[in-house]
């Protein structure tokens, strides 16, 4: 097996995540799909690191993980405050800036 297959898998997972962001309306599931896309990118970065034989790709993947953790914390806080004001986690209901 050629290790380039890891890149194909990563792009497939990324496309699945992008489709999920477009078709789902529950804000939490949309957020999970974004996480899936970030993970797919990480897999590609790790495969690139192996391809070039240095650790820079892994460093970038590590920073992606840190940014993803920060993003999850803020995003989930936004979803919780949205749910408090609208009693729903659907992205269709959040059509107004202010209630």
């Amino acid at each position: 097996m050629n290790p380039v297959n890891y890149l194909y898998l990563a792009s497939l997972l990324f496309a699945i995540g992008a489709t999920g962001v477009l078709i789902r309306r529950n804000a939490i599931v949309v957020f999970m799909c974004i996480e899936l896309m970030l993970n797919a990118c990480n897999l590609a970065l790790v495969a690139f690191s192996r391809m070039h034989g240095n650790l820079d790709g892994q460093i970038i993947a590590f920073f992606t993980m840190v940014v993803a953790a920060a993003e999850v914390v803020v995003g989930l806080a936004i979803i919780v405050s949205l749910f408090r004001s609208r009693h729903s986690a659907s992205v269709d209901d959040a059509s107004l800036m202010k209630l």
Binding site: M1, M32, N39, S49, I59, F83, S90
Partner: protein, 289 residues
């Protein structure tokens, strides 16, 4: 370790890739197709664990462990926590707000995948150098060396980002109480002044067939009273109505016994009349003789 440098991977890694890769794709599809958010979260956690195995197979030992500890351990559990907070049973509505949006989205995703595949196929990624040399001093040591020399500025920025995220989450979710909380006495006086529901609210399950909290009590005419169910359950729409179910059960039972005793249509005249139970028992005894 030496095999990592090879152009082609070992058979073991190939088998692992095809088996686990299939499971990862199935997990990703389940994530976007499952109706309930909890199922989506669990499928995504499975996919992330498989990705961790792939990191380990690619020689990224530190990232593989961090993926399991941080992603599946912390982030996915945070997701599950919020899902439970927001309401587990809140399923996605399947009504399309924009007509044909789902098919267009599917088409977009497919086109995107084709573009990515074509891009990778055209790129010259035939040579894989392998990480044997880079990992020779240890994977963690190599990463640490890079983080604290070449990427030290990005590392510092990351610290600022984490602090900002923490403060942001606290600001977003913290609610300052602006007015004084009502005392019990004030609430009692308010209730008397309003004049409705002077006694405590009725309990759930009274005169219903079950005494579970989500089963509404029945009013004298047999209709369920929503007032008996907890406000949270009422808002979520999680009230179980057993009154019609119970009546159907009773009717089916009557029908069965009537069929067995070969007296059709007797239930129409007998139901609701006192003494029916005793005559039924007597007739059953006669039939068994």
């Amino acid at each position: 370790m030496t095999q990592l440098a090879a152009y082609s991977t070992s058979t073991g890694e190939a088998v692992q890739f095809w088996v686990l890769g299939t499971v990862a794709v199935v997990g990703a599809l389940c994530t976007i197709l499952m109706k309930k958010a909890v199922h989506s979260a669990l499928c995504l956690a499975g996919t992330m664990i498989i990705l961790a195995v792939f990191y380990l197979a690619n020689g990224a030992y530190f990232l593989g462990i961090v993926q399991i500890v941080v992603y599946t351990g912390a982030i996915m559990m945070l997701f599950l926590f919020v899902v439970m907070l927001v309401g587990v049973t809140a399923a996605d509505s399947l009504k399309e707000t924009i007509k044909g949006q789902r098919w267009l989205a599917l088409l977009c995703g497919l086109g995107f995948a084709v573009l990515l595949f074509a891009g990778i196929g055209n790129a010259s990624v035939k040579e894989f150098n392998g990480l044997a040399e880079a990992n020779s001093g240890g994977n963690v040591e190599g990463l640490a060396g890079l983080i604290f020399t070449k990427y030290v500025f990005a590392f510092e920025i990351t610290g600022a980002l984490l602090i900002t995220a923490t403060v942001g989450a606290m600001v977003l979710t913290h609610r300052e109480r602006t007015e004084r909380a009502k005392t019990q006495r004030e609430m009692a006086e308010e209730r008397v002044r309003e004049g409705k529901h002077l006694p405590p609210l009725p309990a759930p399950g009274v005169y219903a067939r079950h005494n579970a909290v989500d089963v509404a009590g029945l009013l004298p005419d047999g209709s369920p009273s929503e007032l008996t169910v907890n406000r949270t359950l009422r808002e979520r729409g999680q009230i179980r109505d057993v009154s019609s179910e119970a009546l159907d059960d009773l009717r089916a039972l009557e029908q069965r016994s009537a069929d067995r005793l070969e007296r059709p249509d007797v239930r129409r005249t007998d139901i609701g009349r006192p003494g029916i139970g005793r005559t039924d028992v007597e007739r059953t005894e006669e039939a068994s003789k």
